[in-house]
């Protein structure tokens, strides 16, 4: 294989694998990217599995008035770019990803039930923040705290330990 064109055609894809894989290792070691995702072949190495990560959110309109949001109820309603926002945030949470996810929450219809806001449908674009209905009343929340919890393992105690590896507040309208 002395021909330069043949060498390029043969080695191009393996080089891409190295670049993608190397970038995934760097990202997983320096950010909150799970080792299982991103094309770095980190599967079956760490208990920090992406789909066992828990995404939690709390909406608030001030110091006293806040309501936890059941993110699990939102996931089945998401499609396309919205689902991508959720999946990407869970696997690699960032400030930007958190804002994108909260903007997705803004477009959902939340209903207060059994101590938390549950997503029950879509309500289209909103300018009023994340709105939660309680009976006939609706309250809009402009501040949402989102967090991601991952699995770690304490072998000495045989316990799966939740670790909060990301937490941030997203303000939807106005100055912080």
């Amino acid at each position: 294989m002395r021909n330069r064109r043949d060498v390029v055609l043969t080695l191009l894809v393996p080089v891409v694998l190295v670049l993608v894989g190397g970038n995934q290792v760097r990202a997983a070691l320096t950010t909150e990217l799970t080792p299982w995702k991103g094309g770095g072949f980190g599967m079956f190495a760490s208990p920090d599995v992406h789909d066992q990560r828990a995404v939690r959110a709390v909406a608030s309109a001030g110091t006293a008035d806040e309501v936890p949001l059941d993110v699990r109820s939102a996931e089945p309603l998401l499609r396309g770019a919205e689902l991508a926002a959720f999946v990407n945030f869970r696997a690699a949470p960032t400030e930007r990803g958190a804002r994108r996810l909260v903007e997705v929450f803004e477009g959902l219809d939340w209903s207060f039930d059994d101590g938390a806001g549950r997503a029950v449908g879509r309500r289209g674009p909103s300018e009023t923040g994340v709105t939660v209905r309680t009976g006939d009343r609706s309250i809009s929340y402009e501040l949402v705290e989102v967090a991601v919890w991952k699995m770690t393992y304490d072998r000495d105690r045989s316990e799966i330990v939740p670790e909060n590896n990301f937490r941030t507040e997203v303000r939807l309208r106005g100055d912080p």
Binding site: P14, F44, A45, P162
Partner: protein
């Protein structure tokens, strides 16, 4: 394998746009392509839309599609478009490898000796994938201690179901642990630790499993990446097929295993008949493993009707 010089004296001549490869490699490429298509079909990746599916079916039913440069270019194109349409972080590692493999074939068929180019690309892709996998085993804090296998035995349905069948794990243990971990997403409760009852047998064997995994994956990486003398190249086949046989009954990510078999076949220099039977057996065995649950269910239904 006869020498490349001799083989190139009898290149297969096909229609315009078809790859010209030595007769001896026709069967290898056909089988590699067939394995690749079947692996795709049995577990269609999220990157595969309708155009990809139609091309794969065409590749399976058309006798010479696998030799067409246009065919591979089209398949690569539809997969690239499909990859761009799904969330990047929803893709599993074998979805990346599927794309790499089809892209490697699509590019290698434009070289002057496609069979040799594809063998090199296959060797590098498999070797590098395993190199990264081994690297992660050392970077992840819980792997080498065996901790990963302990927690996975009780939270991963795939491994857990095998251990349940072997009687090593209580029938509801995996489901219970999973339910407790998934409760962390319940907004009305604070995430709490989940105690798991790791069976003594699993605990004692976990570190051995961890180091055994490192050993077999390192062996694949080294044999595939090292420039071995021709008399030692059979070690690549043994290492890869050994990995498949030892790993996938426990961690049945069958699409990954089937793809690895297809890729390794493309670089194999075993005697043709041995090569065919070794790889076909491994591929069919893995496929049967995937059908295991369906077969058990079917047999159960038949028995229930008979008794």
């Amino acid at each position: 394998v006869s020498s490349p010089a001799v083989e190139h004296e009898r290149l297969a001549v096909g229609p315009r746009g078809h790859i010209q490869i030595p007769d001896a490699w026709q069967d290898v490429l056909r089988l590699t392509a067939t394995f690749t298509f079947v692996a795709f079909l049995l577990r269609l990746p999220p990157t595969a839309g309708m155009p990809t599916l139609l091309l794969i079916i065409l590749g399976l039913v058309h006798p010479t599609a696998y030799r067409s440069r246009a065919f591979w270019a089209a398949l690569m194109g539809t997969l690239v478009v499909g990859t761009l349409r799904v969330p990047w972080l929803s893709l599993d590692n074998h979805n990346f490898l599927q794309l790499y493999w089809v892209a490697a074939i699509a590019l290698c068929v434009w070289t002057r000796a496609p069979e040799r180019a594809l063998a090199v690309a296959a060797r590098l892709l498999v070797g590098l994938a395993f190199l990264f996998a081994v690297l992660w085993k050392f970077l992840a804090p819980d792997f080498l201690t065996g901790g990963f296998f302990e927690v996975t035995a009780l939270t991963d349905v795939r491994l857990g179901s095998v251990l349940e069948m072997a009687g090593l794990v209580e029938p509801t243990a995996v489901a219970d642990s999973l339910a407790d971990v998934r409760a962390w997403a319940d907004p009305t409760v604070t995430p709490d630790t989940v105690a798991i009852a790791v069976p003594a047998a699993v605990r004692s064997v976990a570190p051995w499993l961890a180091w055994g995994t490192v050993l077999i994956e390192s062996t694949v990486a080294v044999t595939f990446l090292a420039p071995l003398a021709s008399r030692w190249r059979w070690t690549r086949d043994v290492a890869l097929l050994g990995f498949v046989v030892l790993t996938y009954p426990l961690a049945p990510v069958l699409a990954f295993g089937q793809l690895l078999i297809a890729m390794s076949l493309a670089q194999s220099e075993l005697e043709p008949r041995l090569r065919f039977w070794a790889y076909a057996s491994a591929f069919l065995g893995l496929t049967a493993l995937g059908a295991r649950d369906s077969i058990f269910r079917l047999l159960g239904e038949i028995l229930a009707r008979l008794v």
